[in-house]
Amino acid sequence: MSDLMQTFPIRKIIEHGPGVKSFYFDQTFEVQAGQFINLWIPGVDEKPFSVSHIQDGQIEISVKAYGPFTHRLMQSQPGQLLGIRGPFGHGFTLKDRGLLIGGGIGIAPLRLLARQLHERGLHFVSLLGAVSRHEIIFADEFERLGTCYFTTDDGSKGKKGFVTEDVAAIIETEQIKQVYAAGPEIMFVKLKAILDTLHVPYEFCMERYMKCGIGICGQCVLDDSGIRVCVEGPVLNQDDLQDVTELGMMHRNASGKRSI
């Protein structure tokens, strides 16, 4: 692990679906699921990403084409040098009888969590949702590791609808003691309301615009708690989120100005 910028060649690139690719690098550090690294494309920009898998001495970062940076990343080739700093922040805590809830590309960090829970013999169930079946990445891997529920907006895989609709029922049926979630923030807002009512502990993997990754720039600090997503997060639990007033509301951009 290193906070300092170091560059490594991309070892391999695999396409997983429309606009989703995995990039492999030699593993030079240990990662807790949910922690993030900063990826630098020299001459372009630097952005935070979660690690989706570790196997055979390589770390895997799974990325969805979304903005200018990720589109550039999609064009990169094996052998190309990218900068990596990290891993940063706090990841998920590994507990028994977990429910992993992933929305869209949020499934990526949960994949490493599923693997780490499995390695420790901890029981878990997955609830994965996306726009369509093509966007539910790594479905077969999750299915190999335990019970899975799926939802899609168009009904092309699993139930038609959103992951949040069946959460309460699944928690009861599967005797869930801990919820882990990664995905769009509106999903967190709905989950928080449900889970606070049910008094089920939860951990959400948060995303914010970040500059430093090392807890000093203040860009990713949450209103009104003052929590830094890059240090105390990105995984925050029900207590951390108690005083957060900006969940699902607005984020700060590069200038620090609030925007939706």
């Binding site: 920009d45 430093c212 720039c217 209103d223 590069a254 200038s255 100005k257």
Partner: protein, 303 residues
Amino acid sequence: MTRFLGLKPDSLLVLASGILGLTASSLKRVIDFGAGAVTTKSFNLEVRKGHKAPSIIPFKNGVLNAVGLSNPGVQEMALEIEKFKKRCDAPLFASVFGRTIEEYGEVIQQLIDRVQPDLIEINVSCPNVRSEFGTPFGDSLDDTARVTEIAKKYAGKIPVSVKLGPHGPGIGRLARVCEDNGADAITAINTVGPGMLIDINVMKPVLSNKTGGVSGPAILPIAVKSVYEVFEHVSIPIIGTGGVTGTEDAIQMILAGATLIGIGTAVYYEGIEVFAKINRGITEYLQKHGRTSIEEIRGKAHE
């Protein structure tokens, strides 16, 4: 308790500008962790995105940054300052800059029309916007004098501290010019440089801006010497900032002549807990040396 320009902060440690200074929630948390006062991130009239990432990069003995004075503009910052003031009694220092000398006056005017900070810190020494703004005003005695004069004119009753760098015509002479033009305090120093780090595989500078200001342990000796020099040239109080990460560093700043001590990059090395740690350390140092107050040792390295 410390006395500084009529203020009585609970600690002589101040959060330095550019660190955790964007929002009320962030600034308030730093106070909760033991800072006596906080300084906002520098802002001006416009909304600035700053330089692309990487803009903040740690290296072995410090941090190199070229954030590029990103800020949400005076209107949004005034709202955050107002929010902080509602939630917290600790002094808040507003750090401002201008692309032109006149803009310093305008941003102060727009700020104090909305909210009253406890001090206005004038940033004339940011080393990483040269490509856009040219040589910093703080590298010139004349420009520093003019900025100080205009800042004082617009700040009214609110005290003004000018944040200087170790470059240009000499920080002692710069500080004297500030004092002569009405400055109430000097903040010494800003980040040093600019410096550069090059990735040896890609063979290119790491910062998107190529160059940036150096902070952290690497600059402590330069900061201590700068405070020492300013103390010899002026009688207004000094906010000694630069490379302080522990008690011994802070004591050196006091012995060199600082009244308050800025803490910034140390948050990276020691966490926000650094404030409480140094507060305790200073108390222990005074006890160990049979002193009852900081005043007894301030500037003592000059005797």
